[in-house]
Amino acid sequence: MLAFVVSIFLLAALIFYVTAGGADFGGGVWDLLAIGPRATQQRAAITKAIGPIWEADHVWLILVVVILFTAFPIAFGAMMTALHIPITLMLIGIILRGAGFIFRKYDSKASEVQRRWSALFGAASFFTPLVQGVTLGALSSEEIRVVDGKVTTGFFAGWLTPFACVSGLLVLTVCAFLAATYLTADPAGEPEVRNDFRRRAIWSGSILPAIVLLLLLAAQNGAPQFVQRMASWPAMAVGIGIAAFTVVALVSLTMRRFAIARAAAIAEVTLILIGWGWAQYPNLITPDVTIQNSSAPAATLRLLLIALIIGAIVLFPSLAFLYYIFKDKGSRPVKAGPE
């Protein structure tokens, strides 16, 4: 029971990471794909939107990892062994994304220097969510086998499967869709730039359901237990919810109701991840490692739960404050500051 509650927190942290941190990667994807006469303005809008928040958003990932290794140490050990290669790739992506972004801001404003850092920032932002999705997908692939906490299937199992690859594509698209929708909703943005992002949001938002279906298709062979769990009524309800919010998001983007579109996009992605969590339950690494058989002692879980609750009480008002200052007050004119 304790382990189950902690796993809910784990999923929640993952959802926050994707909807906040994932969107920052998505911003980098659009930075890479910035084209047309307003490419420079598009990049400026992205920089302005993610500058103050990307480090805080990134900490959700650290939280996911520490909850994982505190509450489910055996699962963590097995994941880090079996998925050593994609996770190392992800880490390099994380380093280069952060470095590319911050160096671009502080290095010379000469255009060839800026172009070089933009390329690094964009490419790393494109690459990282892709490997993250591949890594998550591998957990459901049933190819990683674990006996007595030891991985028996080597270092290439699971993450090179079609199912894992489609998972990667899905996470990448989710990030891009969220970012474009958020950028559309910035009230201080130039109308033309916002319109550019509106079109990008509609494209990526339209591709998203197709990739979800492709994932389910790949799962038929690639993740049988996952599919079985999907064929239950709660999963159906989640599926209907995803479809509904997709429609709401796309329609409100078309009608330029940006605040609604942003909320619908967040709801859509949250439901996708809840659906994923449902299909994955109770496995952490399907089929051998479950929430129950890999959890830490009850004393640790209890203490962790207390820490998580107290942490959440401190965290959410602080985060709300951060977003309030930079998102909602963003429209006010600001004198040139040190940034």
């Binding site: 103050p52 520490v66 290794f69 050990g77 911050i102 640790t300 951060l322 040190p338 940034e339």
Partner: protein, 439 residues
């Protein structure tokens, strides 16, 4: 080289890289808050400019610290999966708390860096205070986890498994107090001297520049107040290590034989096979005094432990003595600065002193690195002292030379860029109107 050695090298490299940024993440917010606090009190624009300048530097350093810290939290599992599978339930706790502390730091850093014109001044300053509190507490939590690896408590071992886990007792292990104190002070001192070094360097070319004089003064206050306390905390550490990790202390001091009234050996080349130290300068009874505060106490030597339980005596001994040497230089500079201020009521600005401070910046970070070599290498061959050997913890993954090489290249690139960008940022002179606005 074996995969185990590559794994250890990659971990050491990542830690050695991250610790610089982690230390600055603890120390620099304190300085920014000091500067902005002085501005709020005195309304002198030079303090505001300082707070802004330092915060511009911190943006780059914090970003690199955040990503290199992420790498480390994954590397715990990537390189030492068996260790994490067994101990995750025990040392996960401080890491979780660190997660929240770091979250607070990151959130309010965003507010602080980007909120100069969006918040009332007092609120802005308070968010800076929260950055400092977040930074200091995340450092404390992480060091607690390391302390547990040196002095594991809060569990029982039944049939090879750790049971009866008590994460609080594990965090309050006997090594926590002295490690936390030593590392936190080290972070404050190193940041203080590093910032002082930048401004001392600029003062050498422009002695009357009020901007840099004010900056140097603030940074020196932090560094020079903490340094004597650090020397005391170092003494506390030595005595605690003597009590709870005698093999480590013996290696620090290259002390092979158990003896009463043991001398301290300055320098020298330890030889494990002959169990002697050549070319060392002995100070009679020194070691007995330092480890127990009793000149004739018995000090346990390495000979009491099986050879397979010895750390690398040479590296540990040299790292330790060099760290102490750096510390003593910093102490001398601190005492001189304090004496000068007491005597003249002004900033010490003799050329030799400014040159010394320029050297003290890198020296204080060297001392931090050496201190970590001591505590990490001195714990070997154990990953959890007396409980789990490092070789039992390493990943079965092969070809670790590949990630090691990649991370080495990436870290070299980051280090180069950070230094380059900070030079761009800080070697510019201060705005002309501030240079003489304060007298």
């Amino acid at each position: 080289m074996s995969d185990l050695l590559f794994a250890r090298s990659q971990m050491a490299l990542s830690l050695a890289f991250h610790i610089i940024f982690a230390a600055i993440g603890i120390g620099l917010p304190v300085l920014m808050v000091l500067a902005e606090g002085m501005y709020l009190r005195t309304r002198r624009p030079v303090y505001l400019e300082l707070a802004k300048r330092w915060s511009r530097g911190s943006a780059i350093l914090f970003a690199v610290g955040a990503v290199s810290g992420t790498v480390l939290s994954f590397e715990l599992g990537l390189l030492w999966p068996s260790f994490m599978a067994k101990a995750g339930g025990i040392i996960g706790m401080p890491f979780s708390l660190e997660g929240f502390a770091f979250f607070t730091e990151a959130i309010f850093l965003g507010v602080f860096l980007f909120g100069w014109n969006k918040l009332p001044p007092l609120w802005h300053w308070l968010s800076g205070v929260l950055v400092a509190v977040g930074g200091i507490s995340s450092g404390i939590f992480v060091v607690t986890a390391n302390a547990w690896m040196n002095a594991p408590t809060g569990f029982k071992i039944v049939g090879g498994k750790m049971t009866d886990v008590d994460p609080i007792a594990a965090m309050l292990n006997p090594a926590s107090m002295h490690e936390v104190l030593h590392m936190t002070l080290a972070a404050l001192i190193a940041t203080g001297f590093a910032v002082a070094a930048v401004h001392a360097f600029l003062l050498l070319h422009d002695r009357r520049n009020q901007f840099h004089r004010t900056a140097l003064g603030l940074a020196l206050i932090l560094a020079c107040v903490c340094t004597p306390i650090q020397i005391w905390s170092g003494d506390l550490s030595a005595r605690t290590v003597a009590r709870i990790q005698p093999a480590k202390l013996a290696a620090l001091e290259a002390d092979y034989r158990t003896q009463t009234g043991a001398p301290i050996l300055l320098g020298g080349i330890p030889n494990d096979d002959a169990r002697t130290v050549r070319y060392a300068i002995p100070i009679p009874h020194g070691l007995s005094f330092l480890s127990t505060h009793d000149f004739n106490a018995k000090v346990v030597g390495l000979e009491e432990f099986p050879r397979s339980d010895w750390p690398n005596v040479r590296l540990v001994h040299w790292s330790f003595q060099l760290m102490v040497f750096c510390g003593l230089i910093l102490l001398a500079l601190s005492i001189y600065a304090g004496w000068f201020w007491w005597k003249h009521r002004s900033l010490p600005d003799r050329t030799w002193f400014l040159r010394g401070i320029v050297a003290a910046g890198p020296l204080s970070f060297l001392a931090i690195e050496l201190g970590w070599f001591v505590t990490e290498l001195g714990r070997q061959p154990w990953i959890v002292y007396g409980v789990m050997r490092t070789e039992e913890a390493v990943t079965p993954m092969r070809w670790l030379v590949v990630p090691f090489t990649i991370f080495t290249i990436v870290y070299l690139f980051l280090a180069f860029m950070v230094v380059y960008l900070l030079c761009r940022e800080f070697l510019k002179t201060a705005p002309a109107e501030l240079q003489r606005s304060v007298t």
